[in-house]
């Protein structure tokens, strides 16, 4: 297994108390595999990824519990300088907003080349040639002429390609993409997702795709982990979860999105709001919004029950949900 996250907890100290952002997450990714982590804002999907990358702000963040095994090593036991060697070279991250993730006063060539200067000790001149090569690889037209340009001179789709190029520079084993196409237009989104999937196949990388878009997940993922209030509530191979969800939250999400290929009647709406992380409801965090909630849901946190081969659901009533 390339990456294995075990019982990870992350909390943030705030003025109003301790926000429990991640409450015992387990997931794993193999080489060449795509795991989609699906969730709404505040579900802990990005915080988990930041903990894996080692880019959490600590303090106010804290990891009180958990292990992150990457190629057999527990990353949380490593020293910062050891982690820095892994970050960028072995695992890399693609962020949502390319414009604010790129340095506006450095040319894209310098930013791409920096990877080689820092990690590989290359000279500036050689690193520039490498930068051109990378830009070609992510299919930026006229790479040679554009390598000296600044981020603002590129369109949104091209900037996201540069982010991808930067993440791929040292051919990492694992890529974490946090909402990589959310800020892009539909036609450009398709171009960028295609490119990412193709490069992943080519380099046999593991990919963690963090998103809230059920459509994007269906298009590219192998397996999926649905998060709610800092926990994984359901995990399954992608085809099975869409055909037959085993958790009421997943089911509600799937029913609440309008479909391009159907003109529906009134949408199903999950009532209420996601919980406040300072004050997560006892028992199952989804119980105040769940149509199936019983007494046990308010008192006992549901563990991840094995539903089928490779499928788990954190619902006391997963059988009833599947049958419904």
């Amino acid at each position: 297994m390339l990456l294995e996250v075990r019982d990870l907890h992350v909390e943030f100290k705030t003025r109003d108390g301790v926000a429990k952002a991640v409450n015992g997450v387990n997931y794993s990714v193999d080489e060449g595999e795509t795991l989609a982590v699906l969730g709404e804002s505040g579900s802990g999907k990005s915080v988990t990824a930041q903990a894996v990358m080692g880019i959490l702000d600590m303090p106010p963040g804290r990891i009180p519990q958990g292990e992150i095994f990457f190629q057999g090593k527990d990353l949380l036991k490593l020293k910062e300088d050891q982690r820095r060697k892994i970050r960028g070279a072995e695992m890399a991250m693609i962020f949502q907003d390319a414009l604010s993730s790129l340095n506006p006063v450095l040319s894209v060539g310098e930013q791409l080349g920096e990877m080689f200067v820092v990690h590989r000790g290359m000279s500036k001149k050689d690193s520039r040639a490498k930068a051109v090569e990378l830009m070609d690889r992510v299919r930026i037209p006229a790479a040679k002429e554009r390598v000296g340009q600044y981020p603002h001179q590129f369109s949104g789709g091209m900037r996201q390609r540069i982010m991808i190029a930067m993440a791929l520079a040292l051919e990492p084993k694992l890529i974490i993409a946090d909402e990589p196409t959310t800020a892009l237009d539909v036609t450009v989104q398709a171009q960028v997702m295609d490119l990412l999937a193709e490069l992943q196949r080519e380099l046999n990388m593991g990919l963690i795709l963090i998103t809230h878009d059920l459509g994007v997940v269906a298009d590219v993922a192998d397996k999926i982990a649905v998060m709610y209030a800092g926990r994984i509530v359901e995990t399954a191979p992608v085809k099975e979860i869409y055909a037959n969800p085993a958790h009421p939250y997943t089911k509600g999400l799937l029913e609440s999105i309008p479909r391009l290929d159907q003109k529906g009647q009134e949408l199903y709406a999950i009532k209420g709001l996601p919980p406040n992380l300072l004050n997560i409801p006892p028992g199952c965090a989804f119980n105040p919004r769940c149509p199936m909630a019983q007494d046990i849901c308010r008192s006992k946190v549901p563990p991840l029950f094995d539903v089928a081969e490779g499928r788990q659901s954190a619902c006391h009533f997963w059988k009833e949900t599947l049958d419904a």
């Binding site: 709404e40 804002s41 369109s155 949104g156 789709g157 091209m158 237009d185 539909v186 036609t187 450009v188 989104q189 398709a190 171009q191 997702m193 295609d194 809230h212 878009d213 059920l214 459509g215 994007v216 997940v217 269906a218 298009d219 993922a221 992608v238 085809k239 869409y242 055909a243 509600g252 999400l253 799937l254 609440s256 999105i257 309008p258 479909r259 391009l260 290929d261 003109k263 529906g264 009134e266 949408l267 199903y268 709406a269 999950i270 009532k271 709001l273 996601p274």
Partner: protein
Amino acid sequence: MPELGKDTSGTTSGATEASSWVGPSTRSVSRGESILEVRDLVKHYPLTQGIIRKKQVGAVKAVDGVSFDLGRGETLGIVGESGCGKSTVAKMLVQLEKPTSGAIRYKGEDITELSGRALKAVRRNIQMVFQDPYTSLNPRMTVGDIIGEPYEIHPEVAPKGDRRRKVQELLDVVGLNPEYINRYPHQFSGGQRQRIGIARGLALNPEIIVADEPVSALDVSVQAQVINLLEKLQQEFNLSYLFIAHDLSIVRHISDRVGVMYLGRVVEIGTDAEIYEHPTHPYTQALLSAVPVPDPTARDHRERIILSGDVPSPANPPSGCRFRTRCWKAQERCAQEVPLLAVPAVFRDADSPAAHDSACHFAEERVVVPR
């Protein structure tokens, strides 16, 4: 808070008449008739050079000849990618931007030529709901002040003493607790804030609501709540919506008719079934095929049209058909001749859903959404 206190004192004294806040007496146009007609709407933003003597060196052609009708009680969806001019159209409809040329006729009257009192009267009937519920509400005003502010400008809609009650009714209508009237925007979630924005849009009993990306800032599970609310309000008050969004699935769900924009022009317009099931313009086809469908079994047999390149700059749009630089069908004629938005000649006599307005010289039907 002090201002609200003022309102309260008025309410308690004399709000006895039971008239509902809804429905101006002027509503006489029958259903099916168009309430808004937009003709050849153009908005060019000048590009200037020089600091002292500003010389115009060009123009960003944000909207360049857009025409459509909006029927009473109807929802017209406008879709398109960023920079296609859809938000500029919205701003012109509510007269936040003055068109360079063209007409916006509300019940037959061109509102672009109105000013003063006449314009004010029209504005009452065309209201807007904005995209971002975090920045479109003043953080220092209470919810009551925000929703009641339109009454300051149009006091004829609600006499002073009646306002607090009306605001509370509005809160109830959009599904918020009327007792939240003294709270501030930061005390609400994103979905609740959007409800506040909608309540403000409804305050003056408008006939038309222009909604610019009203749910795109919201979480998936909350989006459905707000869309259902918009649909409920439309039926209840016979509202006409111009619904602008980039999410094609949501637009299909809520719209009766859909217009597709590209680089300042409408390229195709028709009923939702005509556009989604029988698109004839290559851009619409590419756009629809690129939308991820939440169904993993569809990914293997779905046809995808991946466009190359980016949208050209609106300051210097391509000649002829504006889509030709990214179109796989483009020929010499596309560079010479601007295609008109009309039923293409091949379909003119056809009794088929493909016979709807499409601005393409080589229009042909192609099914891209799996059924």
